[in-house]
């Protein structure tokens, strides 16, 4: 598993596991080290900027929404 997917996988696990989320809230460093995030990823998560995390994870979505207003 790449480091990039390790972060994506952690986000999946945090979204479905309330106990893990609580552990993460109390001690994020321990949880992130357990799943093997890189220093860059640790810094990204600590920075608390969702847009930077999105940019790092890549893929085909942007921070913008999909405006679908129909006239």
């Amino acid at each position: 598993m790449s480091k990039q997917s390790a972060l994506a996988n952690l986000l999946v696990e945090l979204s479905i596991d309330p106990m893990l989320r609580r552990r993460f809230q109390e001690d994020p460093s321990t949880v992130m080290n357990e799943v093997g995030l890189s220093d860059e990823e640790l810094e990204l998560v600590a920075g608390g900027n969702p847009e930077k995390i999105r940019d790092y994870l890549g893929g085909d979505v942007t921070a913008s929404c999909f405006v679908m207003f129909e006239s």
């Binding site: 979204s15 085909d60 929404c65």
Partner: protein
């Protein structure tokens, strides 16, 4: 050739945590999984669930109306259905709420005689009610897309909660990648709202959390200061209701005759107190009001 089938689902928000077990099974079992997500973690998760997962994001073209992208998405989804495949189309949020390609592909597939269904999901509104602590059944609530709300003058009831979608994207019809809101549009909205609410009325700019490591963004501001508030193109505006209207004694009396006095007694108390809206539910309602 097998008869193609379509299931349209929503994944809610916050990566995988709001996906129903039924929707999860549909995504895993589909022969072709199309998806449109708002964060890359969810996209990566969907690809891990189903090797036949395919993003619809490339249907968008910068500076082109969203309706053109919608048409391309529907065409791509239906082409797979026509090919006899078990197709799942997954959209973030609720697939029926502000997701034109979800409903349109469902409609056309059915019209063409294919089996097609939509599964319910967690919507942005469900997240808003939970995060703001609002019970929409107490005062009622009205929901509009913000641009639509402005250009088609609405006769709405300000004693019900008002939810306006995409307040940062007012007037923006074409797809774009930038996240900069149209603040002049928000200024116009604020001028419209102060015709119905006191300038000091506190409103919430809300954006649900889309990654589990972040809290939702909730900013309470006076309605007159809306244009200066922190917002993005995806922000939703929640305007708490004004005090409830007084009870109509004539209607109350007529209703009383239909059910007997005991059921109406609490309402009679409110009527006798002469308060506009009464205070019986104030404690419960406070959660959804501005803390300021």
């Amino acid at each position: 050739m097998a008869q193609g089938r379509l299931t349209v689902i929503g994944t809610g928000y916050n990566v995988a945590g709001q996906v129903t077990p039924e929707a999860l099974s549909c995504m895993k079992q589909a022969e072709r999984l199309f998806y449109l997500m708002s964060d890359p973690a969810t996209s990566a998760w969907l690809k891990s669930l189903n090797a036949a997962a395919e993003s619809l994001y490339d249907c968008y073209r910068v500076d082109e109306p969203g309706t053109a992208a919608c048409e391309r998405m529907v065409e791509r989804i239906l082409t797979a259905v026509h090919a006899g495949l078990e197709v799942c189309a997954a959209f973030y949020g609720h697939p029926a709420i502000f997701v034109p390609p979800g409903l349109e592909s469902l409609r056309r597939a059915r019209q063409e005689g294919f089996s097609a269904r939509m599964l319910p999901a967690i919507s942005f509104e469900d997240c808003l009610f939970a995060d703001l602590g609002v019970d929409p059944a107490v005062h009622g609530r009205v929901m509009h897309e913000a641009t639509d709300f402005l250009i088609r003058p609405r006769i709405f009831d300000p004693t019900a909660g008002l939810i306006l979608l995409q307040v940062g994207a007012i007037g923006l019809v074409n797809f774009r990648k930038e996240d900069a809101p149209n603040r002049e549009g928000v200024r116009l909205l604020a001028r419209t709202l102060v015709k119905h609410y006191p300038e000091s009325h506190r409103v919430a700019l809300y954006r649900m959390s889309q990654l589990p490591i972040f809290e939702p963004s909730i900013a309470w501001v006076a309605v007159a200061e809306l244009a200066e508030a922190p917002l993005s193109v995806c922000s939703t505006l929640y305007v708490p209701p004004l005090p409830r209207r007084p009870i109509d004694p004539e209607m109350l009396a007529r209703l009383q005759k239909t059910v007997g006095s005991s059921l109406i007694a609490p309402l009679e108390c409110e009527l006798n107190e002469g308060t506009e809206g009464g205070n019986r539910n104030v404690k419960a309602e406070r959660l959804g009001e501005s803390p300021g």
